[in-house]
């Protein structure tokens, strides 16, 4: 290792070992590189496992949901509300002026064109993650006729938009697609 002799002398100790020798730097580099590479599997294992990732889509049959009703389905461990809105409700939602909204968003942008009656949102309050009421029959729908979160009193309208209470944002709309007119795939 003649190469190493060219390195600077100041690292020498009383035993004449020069710590800054090239070979020792390379050796230290291997320790660092090896440790970094070995760390990867231990970090990666915390990400969702293959079986968890495989559950990332769910198919929902809409046929049994009558107008005015809603269902809850589980998707990736979270509830999703699927609501069949009567025409009057859709009209009312579209009439709301954006200036009244905390998180301004048009109803048209929250549903899929041609399926305007179907509102699909996550059933997770954007305040602190409780599940709002209003999807099942007999549950309070809140002051705006949509969903009501009992934890801290957030009211959502029939478009899932936040209208009153501490929640900052509208209920999230997951990615979904209509497979047939009466079936959707979420995720």
């Amino acid at each position: 290792m003649a190469i190493a002799d060219s390195s600077a002398a100041p690292g020498s100790t009383e035993h004449g070992v020069r710590r800054r020798d090239f070979i020792h730097i390379v050796s230290g580099g291997f320790v660092a590189a090896g440790a970094a590479a070995a760390a990867w599997p231990f970090i990666s294992q915390m990400n969702p496992a293959a079986d968890t990732r495989a559950l990332s889509t769910v198919e929902v049959d809409l046929a049994p949901v009558a107008s005015g009703q809603a269902i809850k389905v589980m998707w990736q461990g979270k509830p999703v509300f699927v609501r069949n809105r009567p025409e009057a409700e859709v009209k009312a939602m579209r009439a709301v002026s954006l200036s009244e909204l905390r998180d301004p968003q048009k109803d048209e942008d929250r549903v899929q064109a041609g399926h305007d009656n179907w509102l699909v949102t996550l059933g997770v309050c954007t305040h602190l993650g409780c599940v709002p009421l209003g999807a099942a029959q007999g549950e309070p729908k809140g002051e705006y006729g949509g969903y009501f979160c009992p934890c801290h009193g957030s009211h959502y309208d029939a478009s899932g938009r936040i209208r009153k209470g501490p929640a900052p944002k509208n209920l999230e709309v997951p990615t979904y697609a209509f497979k047939t007119p009466t079936a959707i795939v979420i995720g």
């Binding site: 070992v17 020792h24 050796s27 599997p41 231990f42 294992q45 915390m46 293959a50 968890t52």
Partner: protein, 423 residues
């Protein structure tokens, strides 16, 4: 601790000085595994196995904590959760194979470490505490390894738990009650699995604690060396860092190469196929064997087949198996030869190699089915084990004439020099 010529730690910067006055942690490292620890200059490669044991303890703790993030200690799902780790968790197969083979490698390096201590007399005064703490670590390792093997809840896990806890039932009067206490039920089931998981997670940290005591006890007299004579002065030592840190790094990389060959290319070679069959309380495997590192002691356990003095053979086996390990605690006093290293003890040296061969033979018998000729071989081999430690070693210590010792580590033996009085 240590030697007056040890290099004192001098803080290099204001920050180091500030830290040193409040928490002298850099000083601690410097004095224990740094330039401030003078180690004998003649340590050979057998001295690498101490740091390797530390390496595999760390591997086991790190991989074990990660496995516990995915493992479920319930008899209904334990096997499934392990298979999920193997199939679905990202790199789960790698981490589990590291843990399973890491246990074997931990034992391999610890066995070499122990045998090195036996050969070079590292257990002798003034290192008795160091040796005793080492035996404590070994006992904790055996308990940890056994309980860890139960966790996958395969056939060998289940029947291993049955057989090992069954050992305690050999104790007169209270034996059955003790076995029930250990299992938390009159059978091997969920209470045992949960308990073993909890303890399997706890004990490695206890081991790590005792390892710190072990290293502390090492630093009081300093390391033994292949000559087994005391360090006399600065010429006999080199600073631990960089000399032995570089040597240990070399050993670590070599060990990782061998470890990787097993993990990546022979991951199940040290395991037993039956543990890939889920536990079934209704069917015992044809041939129950423990993990390889228990084979010699398993052979001693099974070698007792005669109700000697009216005591049941089963109880003899259990007593002998525990005695075989516990007698190591007394070794520093059983062997009171003043000469440490077997290099200068011609008779002890031969006995040592006989013991190594005997342990190999016991291990072979421990893995074999309980049939002839293995039972008879293991009876002679087990007898030698006890004769070696309890009879021959104390006698040889008294009767043997050691070879002359060199003056010091730095001065080789002078031709024709008179025997030096041993330290």
């Amino acid at each position: 601790m240590g030697f007056h010529w040890a290099k004192k730690y001098e803080p290099q910067s204001g920050l180091e000085k500030w830290l040193d006055e409040r928490l002298p942690i850099i000083r601690l490292v410097h004095d224990s595994v740094g330039a401030g620890y003078p180690a004998p200059k003649n340590l050979n490669y057998w001295w690498n196995f101490g740091s390797l044991a530390g390496l595999f303890l760390v591997v086991q703790i790190v991989t074990g904590i990660v496995l516990a993030m995915h493992y479920a200690a319930n008899q209904a799902v334990a096997f499934d959760s392990v298979e999920r780790i193997m199939r679905d968790v990202n790199f789960g197969w790698l981490i589990r194979y590291m843990h399973a083979n890491g246990a074997s490698f931990f034992f391999i390096v610890v066995y070499v470490h122990i045998l090195r201590g036996l050969y070079y007399g590292s257990y002798k005064a003034p290192r008795e505490m160091l040796w005793i703490l080492g035996v404590v670590i070994y006992l904790l390792m055996m308990a940890t390894g056994f309980m860890g093997y139960v966790l996958p809840w395969g056939q060998m896990s289940f029947w291993g738990a049955q057989v090992i806890t069954g050992l305690f039932s050999a104790i007169p009067v209270v034996g059955d009650d003790i076995q029930t206490l250990l299992l938390g039920a009159p059978f091997v089931g969920n209470p045992a699995l949960n308990k073993f998981f909890s303890l399997h997670y706890l004990l490695p940290f206890v081991i790590a604690g005792v390892v710190i005591l072990h290293i502390w006890a090492l630093h009081i007299p300093g390391s033994n060396n292949p000559l087994g004579i005391d360090v006399k002065g600065p010429a006999d030592t080199v600073p631990f860092h960089p000399y032995y840190t570089a040597k240990d790094l070399m050993g670590v990389v070599a060990a990782l190469i061998v470890f990787s060959i097993f993990v990546f290319f022979l991951p199940n070679a040290l395991g037993h196929p039956d543990n890939y069959i889920p536990a079934d309380p209704l069917s015992t495997p044809a041939h129950i064997v423990p993990e390889w590192y228990y084979w010699p002691f398993y052979a001693i356990l099974r070698a007792f087949t005669y109700d000697f003095l009216g005591v049941p053979a089963k109880l003899w086996g259990v007593l002998a198996m525990f005695a075989a390990i516990l007698l190591l605690f007394f070794l520093p006093w059983l062997d009171d030869s003043k000469t440490r290293s077997a290099r200068f003890r011609p008779v002890y040296k031969q006995l040592f190699w006989l013991l190594v061969a005997d342990l190999a033979l016991l291990g072979y018998c421990g893995a074999a089915p309980a049939e002839e000729p293995y039972v008879r071989i293991s009876q002679f081999a087990a007898a030698y084990y006890f004769i070696h430690f309890l009879i021959l070693v104390p006698i040889v210590a008294r009767l043997e004439t050691p070879k002359p010792l060199p003056k010091s580590i730095s001065e080789p033996v002078l031709p024709g020099a008179a025997a030096q009085p041993a330290e």
